[in-house]
């Protein structure tokens, strides 16, 4: 049995190691500001999520859609947890096309909490055309779609530098030390004091990068808090059951002259 237990322990340790190695494989070591949502009891920082939403709307949303998120998600448990009235107010700022109505015409109306986030461009082609040939990726699952996850997004936002001497960049191309190939078509989106936080937090680039990354991590995994909570209970339950079954097994096998 010892071998058996050892084996599974090794598997777990190996997988954890493998994940940290794959994150470290990047040319530049990724920045990690310390995320509260990682680990067994990991939870999102409500304030950070709300500020992150503000950064997303005021900065990112000009180009990046987040189409799988609905306005109602903003008030759900485990998210930024705005009040329902706040969410109604947020949604009503956006116009969505609905219809056809009884006359067969399409019409626009203010968005409701049940609607998905309104995208900045009509379609992908329009987004590419407006951004110098580069598609600003949808941010719904962006954190999960990049190696390094939240660390990568955070690092990228803070990774803008002057290009090393000898490297000439085309117009509309910027140097970022965390981007694959170091060339990125998004200009540095953050600068100190770019947004004004309502809760008095000082809006440094680092703070905004952390907040918006937290928001995007939630957007990619809106049920993360429930998952951690249920997971903890499930594992405790399994451990207790395993111990009980172990002693039952010992008792049953004591009837035969054989070890188990």
């Amino acid at each position: 049995m010892k071998n058996f237990l050892k084996f599974f322990l090794t598997i777990l340790v190996f997988c954890l190691k493998a994940s940290s190695i794959s994150a470290a494989e990047q040319t530049e070591k990724l920045l990690n500001p310390g995320w509260g949502f990682k680990g067994f009891f990991g939870k999102f920082d409500r304030g950070s999520l709300q500020r992150g939403y503000q950064v997303y709307t005021e900065v990112c949303a000009a180009c990046h859609s987040i189409k799988y998120l609905s306005y109602r998600n903003l008030s759900e448990t485990g998210g930024p947890e705005f009040t329902e009235d706040q969410v109604k107010a947020i949604a009503s700022q956006f116009e969505v096309t609905d219809g056809p109505n009884d006359d067969g015409d399409m019409f626009t109306r203010p968005a409701r909490p049940a609607d998905n986030f309104v995208s900045p461009y009509a379609n992908e082609k329009a987004a590419i055309a407006a951004n110098g040939g580069a598609y600003p990726p949808d941010m719904s699952v962006l954190v999960k779609a990049r190696k390094g996850g939240a660390d990568y997004i955070y690092s990228l936002l803070l990774g803008y530098e002057d290009p090393p001497s000898g490297l000439s960049l085309d117009d509309g191309v910027y140097y970022n030390k965390y981007m694959a190939g170091n060339k990125i078509k998004m200009s540095n989106p953050l600068s100190d004091g770019l947004v004004e936080y309502g809760d008095g937090t000082s809006a440094t680039s680092e703070q905004m990068a952390k907040d918006v990354t937290t928001f995007l991590a939630w957007a990619a995994e809106p049920h993360l808090e429930a998952r951690h909570k249920i997971g903890f209970r499930a594992i405790i339950y399994l451990i207790i059951l395993t111990i009980l079954v172990y002693f039952s097994m010992k008792k049953i096998w004591s009837r035969v002259e054989s070890k188990v």
Partner: protein, 419 residues
């Protein structure tokens, strides 16, 4: 199969059993004499059954919400993750369940290799097992295509393109598989259909696998034939049932850890990017459990020969009972085989690692050596070893080592003298 006639106690039971002997079957399954020295590597049969049932149940629920259409598949998966009640749990159990299934099946296969469980009279069990394994790989591959992410799309493209290596008919076969001129909606819908079918084929084969097992009975760590039932056996229920349950629970703790705390660690980040035929990912890698075969495929410079090598690597396992010429089953009594066994384990792990790396430079070289060794192990080492190896003494019964009978007093036989 049962040694004694089973007669149900109740009148109704007898009436029913005379018409459909399901109680006889239940009696056979509970009384089934099992070697009492089975170690924990033998619990993976039960664990695998659990995995299959879990995959079928979670898959059934996912299929209620999933939309098999190139334009909608990706968003329907996000719908499951966000809006379906506990959809995230069902999906993560299904996705990680596939990995856990393969982890268990690899342990199960390597246990059989170590203890010679594929040898006479268990060849049919082994072949059925290999058929299950091959079907599992097909099911897993097609399942990975369904979310229609970048790795789904490009993985499907790479694998289906393999068939274009077939001389003369290659192009038409690939086109037939695709249902068009490229991987597209028809490919997705047929993969979905087959992904739904295959688990039930596996289930049928599992029944045959267990049926075939119950004819000669379980092999055991010392690999000798035992009298059944006897001092060497225990009834399946409650002894093996409770032991399997205990092992399953430990397995489940590991499983739960993946599902709840690192559900995406075994997947590729690119699969959260919706499939785009215009953008090829930098590295196209299959899921971890297919990597050794992927490494073999890429280590042969010629496309057709690479495909042949990959399928040969599987086929060689099917005919393994006839490649291994040793009459001794368990590696415990085969000092040389034991060493080569661990070389093979290392070789397969190396192949797996190389499968994940780009096929160039030192990686390619190591992959080639490892591929050559893989075939060398099965085609040269095993047949030769069976005839040349000096094996150690095999005990006559299980009870003997279990009760710790002294070596001088116990009767042992040397197989080398007999054979």
């Amino acid at each position: 199969m049962s040694d004694h006639e089973y007669i149900p106690k109740s009148k109704l039971g007898k009436w029913f059993n005379d018409r459909l002997p399901i109680l006889t079957l239940a009696n056979h399954l509970t009384e089934y004499p099992t070697p009492k020295n089975l170690n924990y590597w033998w619990t993976f049969g039960a664990i695998l059954t659990f995995c299959l049932v879990t995959q079928i149940i979670t898959g059934l629920i996912l299929a209620m919400h999933y939309v098999a259409h190139a334009d909608l598949a990706f968003s329907s998966v996000e719908h499951i993750m966000r809006n379906v009640n506990y959809g995230w749990l069902i999906r993560y159990v299904h996705a990680n369940g596939a990995s856990m299934f393969f982890l268990a099946v690899y342990i199960h296969i390597f246990r059989a290799l170590y203890y010679g469980s594929y040898k006479s009279p268990r060849e049919i069990i082994w072949i059925l097992g290999m058929m299950i394994y091959i079907l599992m790989m097909m099911a897993a591959f097609m399942g990975y295509v369904l979310p229609w992410g970048q790795m789904s799309f490009w993985g499907a493209t790479v694998i289906t393109n393999l068939f274009s290596a077939i001389p003369f008919f290659g192009e038409s076969i690939t086109m037939w598989l695709w249902g068009g001129y490229a991987v597209d909606n028809p490919t997705l819908t047929r993969f979905f259909s087959l992904h739904y079918l295959i688990p039930f084929l596996i289930l049928g084969l599992v029944v045959l696998h267990i049926w075939a097992l119950h004819v000669p009975g379980n092999n055991n760590p010392i690999g000798i034939d035992i009298k059944k039932p006897s001092n060497d056996t225990v009834s399946f229920h409650p002894y093996i049932v409770i032991k399997d349950l205990f092992a399953l629970l430990i397995f489940l703790i590991v499983f739960a850890f993946f599902v709840f705390y690192s559900p995406n660690i075994l997947g590729h980040a690119d699969n959260y990017i919706e499939a785009n035929p215009m953008v090829t990912p930098a590295h196209i890698v299959p899921e971890w459990y297919l990597l050794p075969f992927y490494a073999i495929l890429r280590s042969v410079p010629d496309k057709l020969l690479g495909v042949i090598a990959m399928f040969a690597a599987l086929f060689i396992l099917v005919i393994l009972p006839w490649l291994d010429t040793s009459k001794i089953r368990s590696a415990i009594f085969r000092p040389l085989y034991k060493q080569f066994y661990w070389f093979l384990v290392a070789d397969v792990l190396i192949l797996g690692y190389m499968g994940a790396m780009p096929a160039e430079g030192i990686y390619l070289l190591v992959a080639r050596v490892a591929t050559a060794y893989y075939f060398l192990h099965f085609l040269i080492i095993l047949p030769v070893l069976g005839n040349k190896e000096k094996t150690s003494e095999v005990p006559l019964s299980i009870t003997e080592p279990v009760l710790g009978g002294s070596a001088s007093a116990s009767i042992t036989k040397n197989h080398l003298d007999k054979i």
